[in-house]
Amino acid sequence: MHDPVVGDRLDQYELTQLLARSGMASIFKAIDLESQQSVALKIPHIQYESDVVFSERFRREQEVGQRLTHPNLVKVLAPREKSRMYMAMEYVEGKSLRALMSDKHPLSTEKALDIARQVCDALVYLHAEGVIHRDIKPENILLTASGLVKILDFGIALFESERRLTWMGLSSAVGTPDYMAPEQIRGRRGDPRTDVYAVGMMLYEMLTCNLPYESPNSRALLRAKTSDEPRPPSYYVPGFDPSLEAIILKAIEVSPRDRYPTAATFLADLKDPSAVLPRDPAIAATRRRAGARVWRRFVLSAAIAAVLATLASLIWLSAHDSPRPVHPQATPRER
C-alpha cells in the first residue's frame, strides 16, 4: 500500500485533485463514479494507519460526522465499502474563514455577524445532539460563494458521555491555542460554553483583526488566557459598538460560569445586538471575580499566617519543653 496520488482509484472514487496536505493527512477532490458527484476525501498518511491514538480520533471524527445532518455542517458520507482508512465528505466549493481574514482588514459587521450566527446555529444543533465540537477556529470554517457557512473537522469533538481526552495528549494535533478556552487549557473536557468561547474569539478577530491576548510564545499565552482579563475590542477599534462589545466580552469570559450558558442564548443576542445593554465596567462579572479574588487572597493570607504562627509556637515549644543535657558537652568540632 502506498500514499495515494491524483489519478488513483479508491473504491468507488477517483482522485482528481490534491486540495491540501498536512502532516497527518491529505485531502483530495474526487469523483464518485457511481453518482458522478464531486466529493472530498481525507486520507491519512500511511504511517498513521497503525497509530492507535490517531485512528481512534479518525474513527471518532467519522462517527460523529455521519450522525449529523445540518446545512452548516459538512456532510460526512458513508461509502459502500472501504478498502483502507479514509473519510468521504461532501465537496464544498469555497474558502476558509482564515483565508477570508488574511488580508488584515476587519470584515463588515453584517458579514461577521452573519457568519457567527450560522456557526452558532450549527452549534445549537450539535449541542442538542450531545456533541461538543471543541475545535472551532477560522481554519475549520468554510464559506461558499453564496455565503453559506460549513463547519469542518470533528477531530476532537466529543459526545458528552464519552471518556475524556485532555488537550495535552492531543497537543500536537490541536495546534494553535488562540481559540482554546481557558478550561481546556486547564485540562477539562469542556462543555457547550467551550464552543461559545471559540465563536466569541472568532467574532472578535473578524471585527478587529486582532485577538484579545497577544503573546510571543504559546506558554505565556496559555497563562494569560487562564488568568488575565481580555482586552476589549475597542482597544483595537476605537468607537467599537458598545453593545457588540458587551456580547463578545460575555462570550469570552475567562470563567465559563460568566459566559452565555448555551449557544442558543448567544445566538439570540447575535440576532439583535442593539437590544443588549453596553457593559458597565464596574459591575457584573468583573466585580464578582474581583470579589472572589479578594476572598481568595484573604483565605490565602490567613492560611499563611496560620502556618507561620503554628511554626513559631512549635519553635518556642521545642526550645522550652525539650529536656536539655544536664552537662552540655563541649562541641567536639573545631574548625
Binding site: P216, I315, S318, P332, R335
Partner: protein, 446 residues
C-alpha cells in the same frame, strides 16, 4: 567507648560522608544537563565531570593549604600535628587571619590521617561550590575558559573565603575579637559553599550575557525549556541523598549526638522547600511545575545547611518554606526584571537560599548547641533566642561573601574576557556547543 576506637570511628564517618558528597557530583551533572537543551548536553556533562579532577588537583596543590593550613588539629579526628601557619593581620590588639600558609600539596601531612580525611572531605565541598556556576553559565561558555575558571576557583577563591569561616580566619574570630556572637557560624556551608558558588555564578552570568534569543528586543522573555526533566528529577534526588553526607558529616564526629537532629532537619527543610515552591507556582501559573519543585527542594537543602545542628525541627520547616518561595521569586526576579539568564536556576537556589540560610542561623539558633564554638563560651543563639550579636556576625559574613566573592570573580571573568574570551561564537551557540566545542553529540541528530 574505648579511647582508641572513637577517633577511628570519627575518621571513618568523615570519609564515608565525603564519599556521599562526592556522589552529589553525579546529581549536579544530571540536574544541570536535564535543564539545558539537547544540543549542549555533552558540554554540560563535560563541565560537571572535569570540574571534579581540576578541583581535586588544584585544591591538593594550593587550595587546601590556603584554606586549612592554619589549623593545628581536629580534636575529634586525632592529635595535633606541627607546622600549621595562618597569615594574619594585627589590628586593634587582635589577630585577624587572612589565609593559611602550610600543608601545600599535603607534603607535611602526608602521614596524618586526620589531615588526609579532612582534605578528602573539604575537597568534595569545594567541588560542590565550583560546580554551581557551570549550571548558570551553561550553553554559551567556552570550554577552555571554563578550565581556567576551575583552577581559579579551587586554588584561590573558595579557599580564601573558606579560610575566613572554617580555617581560623577573621570571620570566625569576630566573636572573640569583636564580641559578635560566636563569630560567623556556618555549620556545613550555606555561605562558604553555596553562596560562594551562587555569587560566582552571578558574576559569571553577568560577564557572559544571556543565551542568544533568550531576551527579545521587545523586552519579552523566551522560554528555553530543558531537554530532559526526568534527568533533572533523578539528579535532584541524588543531591538530596548526598546532602546527608554534606550536613551530617559536618559534625566531623560519629559520636556526636547531634547527627540525628542534623539529618532530620535536612529532610524537613528540603521537603518544606519543595512543597512551598510547588504550591507557590501552582497557585500563580496554575500548573504544578516539577522543575520548580526540584529547585525548591534544593533551595530548602541549601538554606538549612548553615544551621542544621543549631535549630529545632520546627525551625527547619520554617527555613525550608521561606527558601522554597525565595527560589521562585528569585528566578522570576532574575529572568523577568533583571534579564539575567540562568538556565538552571543556580543563582536562585545557591546564591539566594545560601544567603537566607546563613542569616536564618542568626535568627533561629536556639541555644542548644555550639558550646565554645569558635572559642566563645556558651551556646550559639540567634536573635529570637537573645543574641543579636550572632545575627550581626552572620550579616558581616554574608556581606563579606557578596563583596569579596563577587568582586574577585567578576574581576577574574573580566580579565578572562580581555585576554582569552569567555563566550563561544554565535554560530557555535546556534548549532550547539556539542558539535563545535566538544566534537561529540550527546544524542544522534535528526
Amino acid at each position: 567507648m574505648p579511647q582508641q576506637l572513637e577517633p577511628s570511628l570519627n575518621l571513618a564517618w568523615v570519609l564515608v560522608a565525603g564519599f556521599l558528597v562526592m556522589f552529589m557530583q553525579a546529581g549536579f551533572a544530571l540536574v544541570e544537563t536535564g535543564f539545558t537543551r539537547a544540543r549542549n548536553a555533552t558540554n554540560t556533562m563535560a563541565m560537571n565531570l572535569i570540574i571534579y579532577p581540576i578541583g581535586v588537583i588544584g585544591f591538593w596543590l594550593i587550595g587546601y593549604g590556603l584554606m586549612l593550613g592554619g589549623l593545628r588539629e581536629w580534636p575529634s579526628l586525632g592529635p595535633a600535628v606541627a607546622g600549621a601557619h595562618e597569615v594574619a593581620l594585627r589590628l586593634g590588639g587582635h589577630s585577624w587571619g587572612l589565609f593559611g600558609a602550610a600543608k601545600f600539596a599535603l607534603v607535611t601531612v602526608s602521614r596524618d590521617p586526620a589531615s588526609l580525611a579532612m582534605f578528602l572531605f573539604a575537597v568534595m565541598f569545594m567541588d560542590t561550590a565550583a560546580t554551581i556556576p557551570t549550571g548558570a553559565m551553561a550553553e554559551r561558555w567556552r570550554f577552555s575558559a571554563f578550565v581556567f575558571y576551575g583552577f581559579f576557583m579551587s586554588t584561590l577563591l573558595y579557599p580564601l573565603y573558606g579560610n575566613w569561616v572554617w580555617g581560623g580566619g577573621w570571620l570566625s574570630t569576630l566573636g572573640v575579637n569583636a564580641g559578635l556572637g560566636h563569630g560567623h557560624v556556618d555549620f556545613a556551608g550555606s555561605s562558604v559553599v553555596h553562596m560562594t558558588g551562587g555569587i560566582t555564578a552571578l558574576a559569571g552570568t553577568l560577564c557572559l550575557g544571556p543565551r542568544l534569543g533568550k531576551f527579545r528586543a521587545d523586552g519579552t522573555v523566551s522560554p528555553m525549556p530543558g531537554h530532559n526533566l526526568p534527568m533533572s528529577v533523578l539528579g535532584t534526588l541524588i543531591l538530596a541523598f548526598g546532602w546527608f553526607g554534606f550536613n551530617a558529616g559536618s559534625t566531623l564526629s560519629a559520636s556526636d549526638s547531634r547527627i540525628a537532629l542534623v539529618a532530620v532537619n535536612t529532610i524537613l527543610s528540603s521537603s518544606a522547600g519543595a512543597l512551598a515552591a510547588l504550591f507557590y507556582v501552582w497557585f500563580t501559573i496554575h500548573k504544578p511545575d516539577v522543575g520548580m519543585a526540584c529547585n525548591g527542594l534544593l533551595g530548602g537543602l541549601v538554606a538549612i545547611t548553615a544551621s542544621c545542628a543549631f535549630v529545632s525541627p520546627a525551625a527547619a520547616v520554617l527555613i525550608g518554606l521561606v527558601a522554597g518561595v525565595l527560589v521562585v521569586r528569585t528566578v522570576h526576579l532574575l529572568e523577568r526584571r533583571l534579564h539575567i539568564d540562568d538556565p538552571v536556576g543556580a543563582i536562585a537556589v545557591h546564591g539566594a537560599c545560601g544567603t537566607w540560610g546563613a542569616l536564618a542561623l542568626g535568627l533561629l539558633a536556639d541555644g542548644s548547641h555550639g558550646f565554645g564554638w569558635n572559642g566563645v563560651a556558651g551556646p550559639v543563639r540567634g536573635l529570637f533566642f537573645g543574641d543579636v550579636g550572632q545575627l550581626e556576625a552572620q550579616c558581616v559574613g554574608v556581606l563579606a561573601n557578596i563583596v569579596f566573592v563577587f568582586a574577585t570573580s567578576f574581576g577574574f571573568f573580566w580579565l578572562m574576557e580581555r585576554v582569552w574570551g569567555n563566550r563561544v561564537s554565535a554560530e557555535v551557540e546556534h548549532y550547539g556547543l556539542d558539535l563545535y566545542e566538544m566534537g561529540t553529540d550527546a544524542y544522534p541528530r535528526e
